[in-house]
Amino acid sequence: MEERLLKISEAAEILGVSIDTLRRWDESGKLTAIKKEGGTHRYYREKDVEIFASDLLRFASDWISQGAEFPGTFYCPTSAVFQARLVKMERMLMEKPGFEKLYSLIVLVAGEIGDNSFAHNLGNWPDTPGIFFGYDIVKGIIVLADRGLGILETLRRVRPGLSTHVKAVEVAFTEFLSGRAPEKRGNGLKLVREVILANPIDLFFTSGDAEVRLKGADKLFRVTRGPNIVRGCMAKINF
């Protein structure tokens, strides 16, 4: 059976990007189009578009490292958009077998990480405001990212002595910070750490060159220095 081919306008709509972006992606090889014999029009295999759209971590990581464009369906320019999309994800998670109770902790983790991006960068976004928020409930993955100031710079407002990304991320995940500081800091990441440690949820979090990997049954909280410096913050949650 011949696979149905999508027109460029259909692929653009599915991915939430412009036709010009798809043309650019084709020329650069990021998402290659098919041209029918002798024709100039671009077509896409439905499966190719689906696979391309499922690589959430690559979209998020290319966006924060190079400012690369990604499908608009994953973009939350404001916290109101994020809230609405989070509620949609919550409904889907509640229906996933085995997640009837656990769903609320996964939404809490994703909600805290996403809300932190907005709360700590409000009025201070270096360029693009908002966050990347993509998820695949069937595969059990959520990816969040922002091109904000990152943990070190935002935490320095209340802890001027902090000098490394690793130390800043450690403080963010482990210490209670004063609410009387110039910027109101929550205790969200502390709870994120506790929830991840006690439940079948894995987390990869990075900001600057600091990395947190909480994975598997014997999770241990440790902040390490990674090979790359990441702009803002990026998180991958697996469940």
Partner: protein, 98 residues
């Protein structure tokens, strides 16, 4: 007086919306008789985050102390959030049986 938190929404996540909810609640808080408890009912809430709760429950705890009574909830996010708020505020919430 009993307050059902779900009146403020069922997915209570952001610090900003927690702060808005607290402001919206002011008239009722002012009207609470000095000898009456304020009971917080979590039923219907799907997800409660520490950021939202820190803007709403922490100031209530500070203002009302023993007069703030929480109804117990079997929702995991509510339980986890209340636990961390107690640690952050270095103060225990009072729970009433449902």
């Amino acid at each position: 007086m009993k307050v059902k938190l779900e009146k403020f929404g069922t997915t209570l996540i952001s610090r900003e919306l927690g702060s808005e909810a607290f402001k919206a609640f002011q008239p009722k808080l002012v009207a609470l008789p000095p000898d009456e408890e304020l009971e917080i009912d979590f039923s219907g809430v799907l997800t409660l985050s520490p950021s939202w709760a820190d803007e709403f429950l922490s100031p209530l705890l500070e203002r009302l102390g023993e007069r703030l009574a929480l109804l117990s909830s079997d929702n995991l996010s509510v339980q986890a959030t209340l636990k961390i708020l107690q640690e952050a505020n270095k103060r225990q919430f009072k729970f009433s049986p449902r």
